[in-house]
Symmetry: C2
DNA sequence: CCCAGATGAGACATTGCTGTCTCATCTGGG
DNA sequence: CCCAGATGAGACAGCAATGTCTCATCTGGG
């Protein structure tokens, strides 16, 4: 045991378990603790040593999802350049976390409670601010509220993640499909 | 008992149970059979007399959702006028079923099986055909596939249904928010 | 080597939901 | 009135997943 009070490899182990769980739960959101353990290559006992219970596991996944989103948002530099380009960067950066987000998006348990994780509010605010910047700069239309645009972004990410799992959308098209639909819509642009 | 083999009021009763269940499960997808029964104002025993089990109930809801979608599609007259207007009509007609669709959309159980209800395929085909018509007519851009546009439509409907439940989007804005985002996107159009 | 700590396998009780059953009660048509 | 059929209330066992426990085993640092 290290001086930290836990073995130095536990951190990466925990991360590995979380990512396996995310990958599995994306495909089968009702997977058992036993299935999650098997997917991570550990026993159910060890899984319970890492996470007190299923609820704790989901909460940890929520935390991970929030962190991934914030990382993606940081890397996308939402204040920089045109808002449209910032949205494209954001979608591109967020793709690796799309499966996890799709799972969390469908986990009603996280939202029905009287109060949800503050991290989501912070994310909503940051993404909403990006859309607002686009509106103020005359780049985005103003008849769609930033709140709705943010919500729609989440919805499209989840849709595309599931469509990708089913093979209805190619993974390499993920960023384009979402960003182009969200930004430009289905209507053809008039040639200038 | 009527000559039909069941009381004449059972049909409407069954429909009432289904709609109550849809309304409840939209808010809490993990609701118990007991909660569903209470929400419909009947006992659990009677609920089991109508639907053999939870699975049968979900399947019946799926059937209802498909029927509502097909009805909305029929009323939207997807072959008539511009494709964009047809999409707007479709979204407007589908709004009453949005909550049910959002529930079904998150019910992975319906999709993970090796084969899903053929009704969805028929719906996908009809909606996809609408988008394809818009593309062929030069109205819609061709770099977003009809399959993805269909998927995105479902996703936006589910997103907006949940956002409406949470009060983040007004119910009266539902058709506009979805149709305008799907058709026009966030970017402002250049003035002609 | 020695041992603390981590792990895997499995036993175990508990819990919440399900599906089925019975029985008393209600209701509407004949 | 009479009765078939529907209903509500509740009992009951079954089941699947959870959470806790023990114990044998493995592993790495000192």
């Amino acid at each position: 045991m290290s001086h930290l009070g836990y073995p130095c490899f536990m951190a990466i182990d925990r991360d590995h378990v979380l990512r396996s769980a995310a990958a599995l739960l994306t495909r089968k959101s009702t997977a058992t603790m036993d299935e999650v353990a098997k997917a991570a290559g550990i026993s159910r006992a060890t899984l319970h040593r890492h996470f007190a219970g299923r609820d704790a596991l989901v909460r940890a996944l929520e935390q991970l999802g929030i962190a991934e989103c914030e990382g993606a948002l940081d890397r996308a530099r939402p204040e920089e350049g045109s808002a449209a380009e910032a949205v494209r960067r954001l979608v591109r950066e967020i793709q690796p976390a799309a499966g996890l987000l799709a799972f969390l998006y469908g986990e009603n348990q996280l939202w029905e409670g009287d109060r949800q994780h503050e991290g989501w509010q912070r994310l909503d605010a940051r993404i909403g601010a990006l859309f607002q910047r686009g509106q103020r700069g005359g780049e985005f239309r103003i008849d769609l509220t930033p709140v709705w645009l943010t919500e729609a972004l989440y919805g499209l990410i989840a849709s595309c993640a599931w469509a990708t799992l089913d093979g209805r959308v190619a993974a390499r098209d993920f960023p384009t499909m979402i960003a182009e639909l969200l930004l430009g819509g289905a209507l053809r642009r008039e040639e200038p």
